[in-house]
Structure formats: structure tokens, C-alpha cells
Symmetry: none
DNA sequence: GATGAATGAGTCTTCATTCAT
DNA sequence: GATGAATGAAGACTCATTCAT
């Protein structure tokens, strides 16, 4: 039992170290040695816990996807007002900067590694879930009377995620300085146009009301 | 086998072969040997024409960027009606499928190679030019009385390019089957919402009028 | 074949094997493969212990310099009579033949590798130390009343080392057969002329007295 | 006939260009391309005139040896007084600095190329000739009553050449700054000791008398 | 359980040499 | 006579993976 516990703990440590190493060297360039060093273990140990580098990389990706989605959902549920939900959701979808570990890992892994159908499916699943979140937020907003949406909600949500993806990618890949603020502005511009809700601005002060207060 | 071609011709051949090899193996994984094989020359010959692999890759990228932009601009100028221009422009921005060589090369090179400021600048420049094209189209549409745009035209154009980017990427990376049609629909949905022009549909029949008739 | 030796031992083996390989192929031509073969290990193993070939070469050189100097000093201290010291010192400074590994390595490395300030400094340091040894011997000889030296002792020592250098080089590079004996005769001729000590002949029988008797 | 002339002229040009290229890159590192560039011809042309690189290198070496010897002999014959002859001879034997093309080429080629019996013999022959020159000078000095030499003249000459060799080499290989002056002082110190001629100093003003005045 | 010494396959790069023109 | 495009052999270096301890 204790043994099992250690096994699992070690694995988790390795996964975390790998995430760090990946964000430093890129998923296509991390070496087993980088990961071992980040974890403070010997190179051989990496293979003791993971079949090979690909195996490890896949698990890191999977785990990162979960974490990303969970964080985001948490942030959305924290707000009661759909306008706040929407703004929070967009903000959570954008990385703070090129060094944002979690977002960077997700974007780069999806793209810098040789094509792999499993990973592609994982990525698509993640996208779908994000779309789901936006759909929910939009419907709540409609119910609350804040949003007036003509287009199919699915489509609007898909476009929101798509915009987010591109701008996140531009931040991660340092395509433009000051991208974060510009991205918020642009996405909210689209959101305003499509919801007819003028309150969707970057500087909106969130309504303090907590939804679903902690039990 | 072929010997004694002239410099420029052989260089161009090598560039084309490299583009092909890249689309097969990915810009981060092509080996000099792949390119040589695709061109039907010896490995050493690649280095006769290009300082090193990076040099070659950069030139392929540069050349692809030019070609992509030119093709697109041609397509836009072919139409007189801004609605046709817009639709054509969007369609040209999306790859036919995962095997679309030109688009794939552009997207993947921007992302699958170790970060390089020069390449990042090139990529940004390309994006800016695309935005410029959309701005032009939108203004023509407004002048023609087809589009009624509330948001700043720059922002709308930026979002159009951003949507295009994400959906193109999803096609390239095989994230979803049937993405091409769906992408057209989604982007045009955004365009309709923001221009108030209901004629912007995937099945619109282009007005036969040629702009700028042959001199 | 041998596995799991400890770091230091294997490093030393590699250094020795490299010295051997260098004396066979010359410092400018040894290949990593030669060294690996001489050591009976795989090519990759050489890089496991040394950053690159230059690194290895430098360490071999450094180590050889130390060894050379130590051997020589030992030989000098073994004798009490300055005449014996001088003769021994000269003899130790000359290689036994073109195959003399240690001397050959030192001479050739200083010269057959692309210029490198560090190595040049190392070489100069070695020369200076040799000069120092000769200065010591000459002063002892003067104190013992054997040598009567008109020129500055520093200059005489410098010339002794210089003569030694050339003749050693001629032996190493097989410039002349029978060079060893001729060199001894020539250098001692110089020594006689400059010290006024007729006892400095190649066939002098060393005084058995040990200096610094075992404690 | 004219053809022959051109052939020979081209060969000579190539030889000169090679000498220059060697002094820049070192005899062990010059590439055919360097030589071609220095000569302003195509790479292929080098092989049109010389069987291979080794062949060319050998001829450069041979030619340099002749030139070196001739220059030196000229300088010696220019003076009538043996003291001036000796000083001039020593000075001519030392390179002006690390960039001295002729001397550098000779020293480095003898040493930086894989051992080759032919080249070794060439080098030995050159040394022997230098020794011969010194022997002549010493005997003239003795005849003029300036030198009083106890040791065999052959040995003294051999040592003079040996000292010269080492110090020249140290200059070429940048082993010590200010080596040229120091070398002159040291070699003349030896010369004074062995000839008993106090007039052999670096600052001696040459007797203007020309020996063998131009016809 | 964990290590790290050792490996060898995989790649890029250099460059003398060849030879069609 | 001369060229320079093209080659291919050679060699250094990287790194995931294995396995004896």
C-alpha cells in the first residue's frame, strides 16, 4: 500500500517535472535528461516509470488537458452573472504570456509533435468541452436576459473558442507584443456584436455574488 | 541523375522538393536526406545550394509566404462584388485538406520549429498583410452599400483572420473531419453578424463581373 | 566489454587510450573512433566522458605536460652532482625515438592542432618550467664549483631548452637517424662551452651518491 | 610554346596563391576552395594543374624551401665581414612575426601534415644546407681572425641552426611575445660564447663593404 | 526500487575529387 | 583549357534506451 502510494507520488512528480521541462524546451525538443534533471532523479528512472518518452509526453498532455479544463470551469462557476462568466472564461482561455506553462504545453504539444491520432482526438475533445462551456454560459446569459443571440448558440460558441485559440497561440508563439489585451478587446468585440450586450467590456467590474457558494 | 542544371533552376527544384518533403515529414522532422531524395539528388548537393538545413527551411518558408499571399490577392481581385471578394478570400485562406501543401507548410513551420525571432516576424508580417486584405474588402463592401459595419473595420478584419487561422490549423492537424465546410459556415456566420449582410452564404453564386478587366 | 567501471577509472583509461591513439594518428588526425577502439569502448562512450574531441585532447595534453615535467624533475633530484643532474635532465628531455609517446604527444599537440591560446599558454608554461629546472641545476653546479658561467644563467638555461626542443622535434618527426646520440653530443658541447666544465660528456659515469636520501 | 608558357605561369600563380592560403589557414586545414579563391580561379582548375591537394602542397613546400634558402644566402653574401654575415644569417632565419609567410609555411608544413618521408627528407636537406651556410660563415670568421672556435665548427653550426629553429617556431606559434628580440639576443649570446667574439651583438652596425659587388 | 554507465543508431556537415560541358 | 555542378565518403555529435548492479 505504502509502496503503491510512493509509486503514484513519484509518477506525479515526474509528470510535473516533465511539464516544466516541456515548457522550457518545447515538447518536440525535451530530452529525457531534461525531465530527469527537473525531477531531480536519474535518467534511468524516467524509464522505470514510463515505457518511453512518447508515453510520458502523452500522459503529461492528458493531465494538462484535465487541469486546464477544470481550472476554467471553476472560474466560470465562481460567477453568477453570465456576463462575468463569459469574460472570466475568455480570460482564462488566454495565457498570461509566452511562459504560461499550462496553456503553452497544451498548444505546443498539439502541434510540435509528429502527428498522432490519439493526441488529435484528445485535442478535439478538449475543444469540444470548451465549446460546451461557452454554450452553457451563452444560454445562461440568454435566460438572464443579458444576451440576445440571433445565430445558433453552438456556432457562436465555436467561434469564441476559435478566436481564443488563435490569440492564445499568438501569445504563446510571441507573434505580437501586447497581444493579451488586444485579444480580450477583439474577442469581447465579437461577443458584443453577437449578443447585443454592450456590458461585455474588458474593464467590467464583476458582480460580487458567488454562484454555488462553497459547501 | 541530371547534371549541370543551372544554379537558379536547381535551387528552385530543391525548394520545391523541400516543400514536398516538409509536408510529408513536418518541418521539425525533415532530414536533409528526405529533401535530397525528393529532389532526386545526393545529400551533399543540398549543401551545395544551401548553407545548412535551417537556411533552406527559412527560404522555403519565405517563398511559401509570398506564394500564399499572392494567390489570395489574385483571387480577391478577380471579383468585383465585395461579397464575392470576402467569400473568395475566406475560402482561399482555408486549406483543402490536411494534405494542402502550401497552407500546411506555413502553419506548421510557424510552430514546429524552435522559436526564431526572424521567422516569428515573418509570420506576423504575413498575418498583418492578410488583415490588410480583409480591411480592403470590408471597405469596398461598405462603399458598395453591401456591408454595414458597427465595429472598427480593423477589429473585424483581425477576427476574420483569427478565425481562419484556427480553422485552418484544425484542418491541417486533422482535428475534425468535415472541418472545411463547417469552417466556411462559421466564419461566414461571423461575417453576416458583423456586416449585417445576409448574402454572405457558402452557396452564394458569384457575380460574373470581372473587376479590373484584362488590359 | 567491461561495464560499470567507476567514473574516474574509465576516464583515466580513456585518457591513456587517447594518448596511444594520438601517438599513432597524430593529434590533428585522431578520430573519436580511433580513441574508442583503443579503449575498447563504443564511440558514444567517449562523448559520455568528454564534452567533445577538443575537450579530450586538451585534457590529454594537460596531463601529459604534468607527467613529463614530473618525470624529469624526479630524474634530476635523483642525482646529487650537478653534472649528473644536467646530463640526466638533457637526456630526459629527449625522446627515445619517434615512438616515444609522451614526448611525441607534447610536441605534436603543440603544433598540429589549430592555434588555441589556451594550449599556447600551457606550452609556454611548460617551457618556462623546464627553463626553471635548468636554472636550478646550473646554480647548483656553480655552487659546487663545477660550472663557471659567464653569460646570464637564465639565458644559458633558455638556450639549453631551445636546443633540446629542436633536437627532440627532429627525433619525433624522424628528421634524422641517430639523432638521439648526436643531440646529446651537441647539447653537451654547448654546455661544456658555456660552463667551462669538461666533465660534461655523454659517457660520464654518474656519481652514485643519492641526493636527498630516503628519510 | 606560348601554351607551355601559360601553363607554367598558371602553375606558378597557383603555387603563390596556395602559399598565401596556407599561411592563412595552416597547411593542415587549407581547403582546395581556399586556394582556388586566393588564385581567383575555379575549384576545378586546381585539379587541372595538380594531381591532388597533396601534390600541390608538396610543390609549395619545395618551392618555399628554395626561396628561403636563396634569400638567406643572398643576405649572407651581401656582407664581407663574417660578423655581419653571421648576424644577418641569424636574423634572416627568424620570422618577423607569426604572419611571416615564408618561414611560417616552412615550419608549419614540416609539422602539421601527416608524416611523409619525402617531406621529412626535404626538411632535413634544408636544415643541412643551413648548417652548411653557418659552417662557411664561421670559417670565414676564423680566417678573418674574428672568431676563435674551440668546438668542431660543424657542431657549432648545428647548434646555431637548432636554436634558430626553436625560436622561429616559438614566434610562428605565438608562444611568447617579444620573442624576436629575445631570440636574437640569446642566439648571439651563444655565438659570442663559442666564438669568443664580443662584437656579435644585436646592435652591431654592419660594415658597409659589399662582398662580391654586383657585376 | 533506482541508478547511471554504456551503447549505437541517426543526422548534419565538410570537402576532395570527378566529369559533362 | 577551364569550369563548377554534383557527388559520396568520412567524421563529430546527440540522445533514447538498455541493463548490470
Amino acid at each position: 500500500m505504502a509502496r503503491q502510494k510512493n509509486q503514484a507520488a513519484r509518477r506525479a512528480e515526474l509528470l510535473a517535472a516533465a511539464a516544466k521541462a516541456i515548457s522550457e524546451h518545447g515538447p518536440g525538443k525535451v530530452r529525457v535528461a531534461d525531465i530527469a534533471e527537473a525531477a531531480g532523479v536519474a535518467k534511468g528512472s524516467v524509464h522505470y516509470y514510463f515505457k518511453d518518452l512518447d508515453d510520458l509526453l502523452e500522459q503529461v498532455y492528458r493531465e494538462a488537458g484535465e487541469r486546464y479544463f477544470t481550472q476554467r470551469l471553476d472560474e466560470v462557476t465562481r460567477h453568477a452573472d453570465a456576463r462575468d462568466k463569459l469574460i472570466a472564461c475568455i480570460r482564462m482561455g488566454l495565457p498570461d504570456g509566452p511562459e504560461d506553462q499550462l496553456t503553452g504545453l497544451l498548444y505546443r504539444t498539439g502541434v510540435e509533435l509528429p502527428y498522432n491520432p490519439l493526441r488529435a482526438a484528445l485535442a478535439e475533445g478538449l475543444t469540444d468541452r470548451q465549446v460546451g462551456v461557452y454554450v452553457g454560459v451563452l444560454e445562461v446569459g440568454r435566460a438572464q436576459g443579458h444576451f440576445r443571440i440571433a445565430e445558433p448558440v453552438q456556432d457562436v460558441a465555436a467561434n469564441l473558442v476559435a478566436l481564443e485559440d488563435t490569440y492564445a497561440s499568438r501569445i504563446i508563439y510571441r507573434r505580437a507584443p501586447g497581444m493579451l489585451d488586444r485579444a480580450m478587446a477583439l474577442i469581447l468585440g465579437y461577443a458584443r456584436a453577437v449578443t447585443g450586450c454592450p456590458g461585455l467590456t474588458p474593464d467590467r467590474i464583476p458582480d460580487p455574488t458567488e454562484e454555488d457558494p462553497a459547501p
